[in-house]
Symmetry: C2
Subunit: 320 residues, 2 copies
Amino acid sequence: MKRVCVVGCGAIGSLYAVHLARVSEVWALVRREEHAQALNREGLRVSGAHDFHVTLKATTRPDELPDCELGIIATKATQVEDSIALVGRRFDKGAIISAQNGLGCEEIIAAHTLGYVIRGTTFMSGTRHSDTHVQYELDTATWIGPFEPSGTPYSMVKETAELIVGGGLKAEALHDARPAQWSKLIFNASVNGVSALTGLPHSPHFADKSKFSGLGNLLHDLIDEGKRVAKAVGVELHEDPWEMNKIGAMTNHPPSMLYDTRHQLLTEVDFLSGAIAREAERVGTPAPMHTAIYRLIKGREASWSFADENRAVAAHGKVH
Amino acid sequence: MKRVCVVGCGAIGSLYAVHLARVSEVWALVRREEHAQALNREGLRVSGAHDFHVTLKATTRPDELPDCELGIIATKATQVEDSIALVGRRFDKGAIISAQNGLGCEEIIAAHTLGYVIRGTTFMSGTRHSDTHVQYELDTATWIGPFEPSGTPYSMVKETAELIVGGGLKAEALHDARPAQWSKLIFNASVNGVSALTGLPHSPHFADKSKFSGLGNLLHDLIDEGKRVAKAVGVELHEDPWEMNKIGAMTNHPPSMLYDTRHQLLTEVDFLSGAIAREAERVGTPAPMHTAIYRLIKGREASWSFADENRAVAAHGKVH
């Protein structure tokens, strides 16, 4: 039986953990001590599209974690560096899947392990009801493929997909995972940025091209720009992000970056529009709109501490 | 003695009214009844760079307004249409200055009067302490010139500038006011849009180009794009908006659009980035960044009523 470690048990991490615990020994590495205790005491339950209960091992202490054949990094992109720095070497003889949104996490993971790195893009979704209960909603696939610089053999990717499928989730092994990753990247970067800056959830506005000011035009332009960058980078897309946007715009779903900006939490923009802007810069193709979105969101993040500084000055009297 | 009507007495309107009342018969047309009553009862005081008190006439009723030789429209750009529709014909034998930010108000005014329209761009600033007290801060000029389609003679522009100067303000008559108007347009559109979307006042961030994510790069790109549109339209700029931005970035001044978005008030974006986007479209030159800023701000405005609709649905139970 393989030993698998899921790093980070939000909705996506919990879905991997609960399903893989049926076919492997699962360790969950989490941040909060009471989260680890609850998982060790009560196990983990999934409801919704699937319904069952498993036991697993959980810890907050990297030094308690044994060597594992497989790691799944399921933290936010912004937390990958801190997480993998502590546990990367536990996977030196195995493989690690990056399951984050966006682009750039594989490079961070590869810098902290001798193991093989696997590009992962997941389309499944769920809601976390408690530390020990996750609801499975969109029963859609995780696409995985080799991270090219770490020379991950396709046979290992295939074996990993089979393990995930064995646990009851959908997964597909690809020789090249970038077409899927970039499709989701362009979709996510465009929708998250516009949502966070306007305050709108992924609503019908995002597909409205009926007048010049309509946000549908902006989304269309952002997605077109993303496609041009993908082409310049040499990636052929797996799906059309504009079609993904049209479907999503019917859901009124609040994207994660809208949640983050509302709660003044560091966003994943460095891995979304920021990644498109950087890739465009690298290959020398223009990406003015994603670059603008990137800088606006970074400005928004800066406004939170700037407001605090201003308030601190006001509280102590004006200094000039 | 000339009769002058100032339409709208915020900070800028009050500054015109108080100074012109020293050399002409001033009528103030305001929206709130208590504002008119206070002005009629107490007159208007200016402090700061200038310090004096005047009496004037004020009303909320367009039908009480006599015919005037000069009108100064000093409402927000978003209120010009509603204001001028009621009083435009009072200036049929005179002239009207548009003192709004941005581009497009002259056309609206011209549609409601037979009088001559004057393009105005003001750089003065003040703070309104009460209905009857305004503080004069930046003692800088108002630049005026003919609105080309209404065939305003330059002699009339010159006479108007002399009247304003006679009242104690700075004013300059120009044969072509578009270079000044476009300089301020590009500056204002760029700074207001970025401020409203990031939540930052006009702070040092706006000139920071030290790293790739720096907002100084975004401001520089927005201003460059504005310059390209001005050139395509055939306008040579009077001042470099980037230099204006560098100076403003030292002030931590909250631009009006930041105030508007914080208070969920309709912004002037249609007359700022929206005007640049429309002019670019008209002359067939690309302006992807101002167009994006325009659509993002319109999306932000849409989010206020969308949130209300969503709350209303939540309050009455889910409808699906």
